[in-house]
């Protein structure tokens, strides 16, 4: 492969605190996925064998093309992404560094949670409605052939009720809970250390796991 030709805009990505070694690895991987093209499309993700078994495959692939994740001003889905966008998505999964202060950690955490929020909120309206939630649960449980749709629906309903109670407190029987906003979402993940769990060590990219 020779010297990896890292595109120029990447230097701005060093601000994302992804090291140059990691960039090199990811570039190699990008080239594999894109089959040496400059951009990746949704179809390229089909070539990853292990991703087939992932129940929320659709959402993950979708997340790569989601303009909100790509930090672009517009909304909606991109058709194709280049290496810079690929890196932007990957930067959501970088590990925390020891020398981060409180404010940085908080920002870090919010970013990661926003990424997850966008995965739930498929119609991009800033709220996770009951229908979207049901959709998520159904997809999650889609790997299980014995499950009826009813169960998935009721589980989602129950989870939504819990969310309502955490965010709004006791509700009267006529009150309407519209959906989980990002602030509510933050509240619910308060107990979980997302900043330590949500990272992938892409230093050890094993190029044996290549695509067909």
């Amino acid at each position: 492969m020779g010297v990896p030709r890292v595109p120029a805009p990447v230097t701005s990505l060093l601000a994302l605190a992804v090291t140059s070694e990691q960039i090199e690895h990811l570039h190699r991987r990008f080239k594999q996925l894109s089959q040496d093209q400059l951009t990746i499309r949704k179809e390229n993700f089909d070539s990853i064998p292990d991703l087939e078994f992932n129940p929320i495959r659709g959402k993950i692939v979708h997340a790569f093309f989601d303009k909100r994740n790509l930090r672009q001003e517009s909304d909606g889905l991109a058709d194709e992404i280049n290496f810079e966008d690929f890196l932007t998505i990957m930067s959501y999964f970088r590990p925390i560094e020891m020398n981060m202060d409180e404010e940085q950690l908080d920002r870090f955490r919010k970013e990661k949670l926003k990424f997850l929020f966008h995965m739930y909120d498929s119609d991009h309206d800033g709220k996770i409605t009951l229908q979207e939630y049901r959709n998520v649960v159904e997809e999650l449980l889609s790997g299980n052939p014995h499950l009826e749709k009813e169960s998935a629906r009721s589980i989602a309903d129950g989870a939504m009720m819990e969310a309502a109670s955490i965010c709004v407190g006791q509700m009267g029987p006529d009150q309407v809970y519209e959906g989980i906003t990002f602030e509510d979402f933050l509240k619910m993940w308060q107990g979980i250390d997302i900043e330590t769990k949500m990272h992938v060590r892409f230093l050890n990219v094993d190029t044996i796991a290549h695509c067909y």
Partner: protein
């Protein structure tokens, strides 16, 4: 442990007529001693109180004994009687501590129990003017230790354990080696200084002493850490280390002991020692896993005889322990592996009641064992087994602390390179400070053959001082230190359905991203194992094998529980009677008609509930079921309230209105 060799019987006062099963209990109390003294001269079974004439040796036919109205026959029941009294005493002591509710939070129970033991030992010593019997190492290793390890292994959070496995293994093996050799060599250096009068202790003896004193003890760690609730990560590191270091301790102990007894040491022996380590560790784990699978397979067929299901769990795990001991492998690792393997599959096969029984019984056994161990440690301390030497004892203590701190620090620097979440200084401090010594080194030191170790008493004294220091000083101060350092504590929130969903979602996201990156991370291996598990293992070992998502099973179990509650409280008389206890007994629910299901669901979804806490929080002496019961009551109260509300509004228990309210809320 059998691997330590047959213990030389410690000098214990024993009446010759009694079997030598548990000599330690022979000196229970001054009262028992007196009873023995009076009955000693009599034929067993014929001891008479009052005025009976003893049968004369010549056996003249005319002198008969009259019928005794009231007899006291202590030797007949002595052993079970004394065992029961000991256990009763231990449990009463525990009640006593908890009466003053602030006490357990300041002083860990282990300290108080040792104090009680000391008191008892003092009484016995004073009453009988000779040393109380020391804790028999066989009793400790074969009967008292397994329940504690079983309890810990059964409720160990496997996921966290395997995520940190590399670190745990690193600390356990390399750390213990580091400590053992470091302490041994530095003590040898001290012994060389002739001013202390210790020059007769050889290097090998020092190394052996170092190896037995560097073992972090799971019992002590559990006893102290359960009160301070540090975050799970730290807990699993310290506790996992204390479990896994058993293998290396066994090997080192035996190695150095045989070296002490051998005249020449060849290089081949050192290699044999290394090979022995692998055999001991891996062999123990294999035995555990094998028996775990057999246990899971057995429970597949027990649905007709639910009553003895818990028995299998205990029998198989104990079997794994003593089988491993038989082969001089690591029994602790065997029983841990067995418990961890069994847990997953057995839980699915046994009925709910059996599961509860297993939980409670395990906790009870381990609680009793732990109490007894600490009391015996106290009792055995008192006596004439000591030789005091300021230099040796104080330097031992000093070196233990220094080498532990150094070891943790150095090893962490190395392992942090490989960890995804590096360990901070605070973590390192707690890990070093939590390296408590306990009953294992205590028993090991008593097992030393006195012929080879003329200064055995000195060793015993040093070990006791170190144990007391770690248990008392470190045990008491660790809680304020944890608070002072602001170490992250565990959040004991009960997981809810939504959390389970998020966690599951998150796992998949992470796996997906790892796949995209081509990175074989933890998730990759875990996924692979899960696939293998689903394809082969679960089909073999679980009776009704339907690959269940944990989200669904959580939810279903909750539905069942609540339906039962509601039926029991008589609120909904129309709840289908098929969801009754007898059906639940068989683990099956007859299919309900769709409208009934819908109604039940709507009622449930109207209210708040939380899922039964499946992973235990690290409190060994109470079960999370307490919280669950409180919650069930709360849920019932709320439901009554809301149903009363709807009753008021519609004058009838109609279900249409709640349905409308819910659907209006979400559309």
């Amino acid at each position: 442990m059998g691997s330590r060799g047959r213990p030389p019987r410690p000098a214990a006062p024993r009446p010759p007529a009694l079997p030598a099963l548990l000599p330690v209990l022979a000196a229970l109390a001054a009262g028992a001693a007196e009873a023995r003294a009076t009955s000693e001269g009599q034929l067993p079974g014929a001891a008479a109180m009052g005025t009976g004439t003893p049968p004369s040796p010549s056996g003249t036919a005319f002198e008969e004994t009259r019928l005794h109205v009231f007899t006291l026959d202590y030797p007949h029941v002595q052993i079970p009687f004394e065992i029961t009294l000991w256990i009763l005493l231990a449990s009463l002591a525990k009640i006593g501590f908890h009466l003053y509710h602030k006490l357990p939070s300041i002083v860990p129970e282990s300290c108080l129990l040792i104090l009680v033991g000391l008191l008892l030992g003092g009484i016995i010593f004073g009453a009988e003017e000779k040393s109380p019997p020391v804790m028999n190492s066989d009793v400790f290793f074969l009967y008292l230790l397994p329940p504690i390890v079983l309890d810990a292994g059964y409720f160990m959070p496997t996921r966290l354990f395997f995520e940190n496995f590399g670190t745990i293994f690193w600390y356990a093996v390399v750390g213990t080696l580091w400590n053992a050799i470091g302490i041994g060599i530095s003590l040898y250096g001290i012994c060389q200084i002739s001013a202390f009068g210790l020059t007769d202790i050889t290097l090998l003896q020092n190394l052996l002493f170092g190896s037995l004193i560097s073992a972090v003890d799971p019992v002590a760690v559990l006893a102290v850490f359960e009160n301070i609730h540090v975050n799970e990560q730290l807990y699993i590191l310290v506790f996992g280390e204390s479990l896994l270091n058993d293998a290396i301790t066994v090997v080192l102990y035996n190695l150095f002991k045989s070296f002490c007894q051998m005249r020449t040491i060849k290089v081949i022996d050192i290699f044999a020692g290394i090979a022995n380590f692998f055999i001991v560790g891996i062999g123990g784990v294999l035995i555990g896993i094998l028996l775990g699978f057999v246990a899971a397979f057995t429970t597949r067929f027990t649905h007709k005889i639910r009553v003895i299901e818990p028995l299998f769990v205990f029998l198989y795990s104990y079997l794994s322990y003593i089988t491993a001991e038989m082969f001089h492998l690591s029994g602790i690792m065997a029983i841990t592996a067995c418990a961890m393997t069994m847990n997953k599959y057995v839980e699915e096969n046994v009925s709910q009641k059996s599961y509860t029984t297993i939980k409670y019984f395990m906790k009870m056994l381990s609680s009793v064992s732990e109490t007894l161990i600490f009391i015996f440690m106290g009792v055995s301390t008192v006596g004439k087994n000591h030789e005091w030497n300021w230099a040796f004892v104080s330097f031992t203590l000093l070196f233990c602390l220094i080498w532990r701190a150094l070891g943790v620090f150095v090893l962490t620097q190395i392992i942090n390179v490989f960890r995804t979440i590096p360990l901070t200084f605070k973590d390192q401090f707690i890990i070093a400070y939590g390296g408590l010594r306990g009953a294992i080194c205590f028993s090991l030191v008593f097992l030393l053959p006195p012929a080879v170790f003329p200064r055995k008493k000195l060793f015993i004294t040093a070990v006791i001082v170190v144990i007391f220091f770690t248990v008392f000083i470190q045990g008491i101060t660790i809680r304020p230190l944890v608070e002072f350092l602001d170490v992250k504590r565990s959040n004991k929130k009960q997981p809810a359905v939504s959390e389970e969903i998020y966690n599951r979602f998150f796992d998949h996201v992470k796996t997906g991203i790892e796949d995209v990156c081509g990175h074989w991370g933890h998730n990759f291996w875990r996924d692979k194992f899960k696939k293998f598990d689903n394809k082969y293992l679960r089909r073999l070992l679980i009776r009704e094998n339907q690959p269940k998502s944990s989200i669904v099973s959580l939810y279903k179990k909750l539905e069942i529980k609540h339906a039962i509650e509601m039926a029991e409280s008589g609120m909904i008389s129309k709840v289908p009677s098929s969801v009754s206890l007898s059906d639940y007994h068989e683990g099956k629910i007859k299919p309900l008609s769709p409208t009934e299901m819908e109604n039940m669901r709507e009622i449930l979804t109207k209210n708040l509930y939380q899922i039964r806490h499946r992973t235990m929080s690290y409190n060994r002496h109470s079960l999370a079921a307490d919280a669950g019961e409180k919650q069930a009551k709360e849920i019932l109260i709320r439901r009554r309230h809301s149903l009363r509300e709807s009753l008021r509004k519609t004058n009838s228990l109609s279900r249409e209105r709640p349905v409308l309210a819910v659907s209006a809320a979400f559309c």
